[in-house]
């Protein structure tokens, strides 16, 4: 086991375009780190540089206390699960899992013992003599994991390992990976573009955009205290709504109505600016008629015409179109495209209680939890309302959770 330390890592291809630009990231020993970002953000490239399948243009990559920039993949003692699993089709499941051990010339006796043990852990025992072609997607995925686990590598690297599975299996395997990582306590770097995987699996999540590291933090920190528009928009599904607003004293004038800034810190952030972008998560809205009086007082109500509603049983979404100045609308569209979306119109997405009876076409009264809104600088995208105290608190919390899981693992038998 080892920590992975990246300092000012740059990857440039032949055309000079930096696919990864000046990334510095510490993955602590035993930590589960997620690399996330829209397609083409450089997350896979970064992972492949860790494992040694891509050359590093500049910067320093350390595994443990050893600089590995020029070390061949086979000498890095890492194991990797590929997107397509890369199972060797000519070998049985047993030999696939045993492959790294065979290369290391491990004695037969030990190979047998360790493969059997790994297969037991992954419930592959009865499939050991089959060929990969005869396995289901989930089984193949487990074989790939088995091959990664068996050699007791210093770290696990996952390159979108679940993206080829259907939704249900993906959920199961996700829990399986989390359980396994907690149990083995091996440093793990996991690349994904999937929100849920990023939020549920990682001790910390690193968000990349066009090769540049945006923010590293616990899932909660990213969700609650994003550093900029990009992270705010990328984390959370449906995405945070960004409403253009002009500032009038401590009031924000948005297309949905006027919002009071009661929090002095937020008011201070907006002060002196003419135009800002207000970020409100869909779940910060509610059908005003379902909000109790005491809660109502902590926020504010606005009236808006609902365009479409989607009732999902456990929750409900409503879409509220609004007009935005052309330049800001263009900027928002650009952001949406960067986030792999394709939002054509400016509209707010509002999450409502499933019990809400608001219907399409209604002029609805919506309650907004103004305490949870963020204010962004439209020019730089910077979050003006990040609460450093809260960030520190979330950081301590995440560390405590991680250590308690590690403690639980050490206590656990096996």
């Amino acid at each position: 086991m080892a920590a992975i330390t990246m300092s000012n890592i740059v990857k440039k291809y032949g055309d000079g375009f930096p696919a990864v630009n000046d990334v510095s990231l510490d993955v602590q020993d035993g930590e589960f780190m997620i690399l996330v970002g829209p397609s083409g953000c450089g997350k896979s490239t970064l992972l492949r540089m860790i494992v040694g399948l891509e050359d590093i243009t500049s910067g320093e990559m350390r595994i443990g206390d050893k600089v590995v920039n020029t070390v061949a993949p086979r000498q890095r003692n890492l194991s990797m699960v590929f997107q397509n699993y890369a199972l060797y089709p000519h070998l049985t499941v047993f030999e696939n899992i045993a492959f790294p051990l065979r290369l290391a010339k491990t004695p037969d006796e030990e190979v047998r013992r360790r493969v059997t043990e790994t297969a037991g852990l992954l419930e592959l025992t009865e499939h050991l003599e089959r060929k990969p072609a005869n396995l289901s997607g989930g089984q193949r995925q487990r074989v790939a994991m088995g091959r990664a686990i068996v050699r007791q590598a210093d770290a696990f690297l996952f390159d979108e390992p679940l993206s080829n599975l259907d939704a249900k299996l993906r959920g199961q395997m996700r829990t399986e990976i989390a359980r396994l990582q907690r149990r083995l306590g091996v440093t793990t770097v996991y690349v994904t573009h999937d929100q849920t995987e990023a939020m549920t699996l990682g001790d910390r999540v690193a968000v990349l955009r066009k090769g540049v590291l945006q923010q590293v933090g616990s899932p909660r920190e990213l969700y609650e205290q994003p550093v900029n528009l990009f992270v705010a928009g990328f984390i959370g599904s449906p995405s945070m709504n960004f409403l253009p607003a002009s500032v009038e004293g401590t009031q924000l004038v948005t297309p949905l109505g006027r919002l009071d800034l009661r929090d002095p810190a937020k008011a201070a952030a907006a002060a002196g600016r003419e135009v800002v972008l207000v970020g409100i998560r869909p779940e910060a809205f509610e059908d005003a008629s379902l909000v109790g009086a005491d809660k109502r007082a902590t926020g504010q109500t606005v009236r808006a015409r609902v365009d479409v509603t989607e009732w999902l049983g456990n929750e409900q979404f409503a879409y509220v179109p609004y007009e935005a100045p052309a330049d800001l609308a263009a900027q928002l569209r650009e952001l949406s495209r960067e986030l792999d979306g394709d939002q054509l119109r400016t509209q707010a997405v509002v999450a409502l209680d499933a019990a809400s009876l608001i219907a399409a076409g209604d002029e609805a009264e919506l309650w907004v939890d103004t305490g949870r809104l963020h204010i962004f600088d439209p020019a730089t995208g910077e979050n003006l309302t990040r609460d450093e105290e809260r960030v520190a608190e979330l950081g301590r919390h995440a560390e405590r959770v991680r250590l308690s899981q590690r403690g639980a693992r050490q206590d656990a038998p096996g």
């Binding site: 291809y13 032949g14 896979s44 490239t45 891509e54 050359d55 590929f82 997107q83 390159d159």
Partner: protein
């Protein structure tokens, strides 16, 4: 898979790894390239050089530099042009017939509902048979003494090998028999790449089977057809084995390859023979150029990259 395959373009050739990769690549290619060069480049240069001499192996002392004299001799000789014509006739007829039959066979293999394996194996068999033996088989079939053709088709004692056109006919038949399998396999591969839903869409649009064939299937396998035509044209242009076995070039059935062989090996007229050989080589280059430039047969696309 997409993520990894579509992944990064090759890095600029600066790092150690890419240097090592280049070295290894060249190293691995070296033996094959050297053998191919040894057997082609040197003899070709040698042929070019010797074709400028009047030189017979039997009279090495008479070796004289005659500039392009041998080429003039060859190009002004009626025999050369007769051989060109013969070669052209054989090439044209075999390729034309093979494309049609080959396409038919490809359709059968593609669509056959039963006995598919048997049919495929049977079609493949002539491909594996040694050309000389196929030539013997057809020679004996048309032979007056041992052949079944005359007696079965009531042709009496029609002597196939005593006339130019009838001899050429038999040569062409044997060539077609032997090489159609190759054509049909190329066309089958092309056929398999025409998406099935194209045909279905055309059916929905109201096309008959015949219209589907001409308006959907064939235009979509243009690349395969052109490659088959090119390969077979160049192959037939070199025809030698059948002619040697069946007529030995008698009855004006001599082809360019046979002429070259006869000059260099049988008559040991090295200078003249090499000149004819060079002309044969140039004609192949010309045909290939016409196909690749003229008909825009993109071999790199067809051959190497998917």
């Amino acid at each position: 898979m997409t993520a990894v395959q579509a992944a990064p373009p090759a890095p600029a050739a600066t790092t150690d790894r890419s240097r090592a990769e280049r070295r290894l690549g060249l190293l691995l290619s070296a033996p094959a390239v050297l053998v191919m060069l040894l057997v082609t480049a040197y003899p070709l240069c040698n042929a070019l050089y010797l074709s400028l001499f009047s030189y017979r192996l039997t009279a090495p002392d008479d070796k004289r530099f005659v500039w392009f004299g041998n080429y003039v001799t060859a190009l002004t000789d009626g025999l050369f042009w007769q051989d060109v014509f013969t070669t052209f006739i054989i090439t044209f007829c075999t390729v034309a017939v093979e494309i049609v039959i080959g396409f038919g066979l490809a359709l059968v293999m593609h669509k056959a509902i039963f006995g598919r394996r048997t049919v495929r194996t049977a079609i493949l068999l002539p491909y594996g048979i040694v050309t000389v033996i196929s030539a013997f088989a057809w020679k004996y079939a048309f032979d007056l003494q041992s052949g079944f053709v005359n007696s079965w088709f009531g042709l009496g004692d029609y002597a196939w090998f005593s006339g130019r056109w009838s001899s050429l006919f038999v040569i062409i038949v044997s060539e077609i028999w032997k090489t159609t399998p190759f054509v049909s396999l190329l066309l089958l591969a092309g056929l398999a790449q025409v998406p099935g839903d194209l045909g279905e869409a055309a059916t929905v649009d109201g096309a008959t089977a015949w219209q589907r064939l001409w308006k959907v299937t064939i235009p979509n396998m243009r690349a395969a057809i052109m490659v088959a035509v090119l390969f077979r044209t160049l192959d037939a242009w070199r025809i030698f084995d059948n002619v040697f076995v069946m007529t030995a070039g008698q009855q004006k059935t001599e082809t360019l390859s046979f002429l070259t062989y006869r000059q260099t090996i049988s008559r040991t007229a090295i200078g003249l023979g090499d000149a004819v050989g060079v002309l044969l080589f140039l004609s192949v280059v010309l045909i290939a150029a016409v196909f690749i430039k003229g008909f825009r047969v993109d071999l790199s696309q067809v051959r190497s990259d998917r």
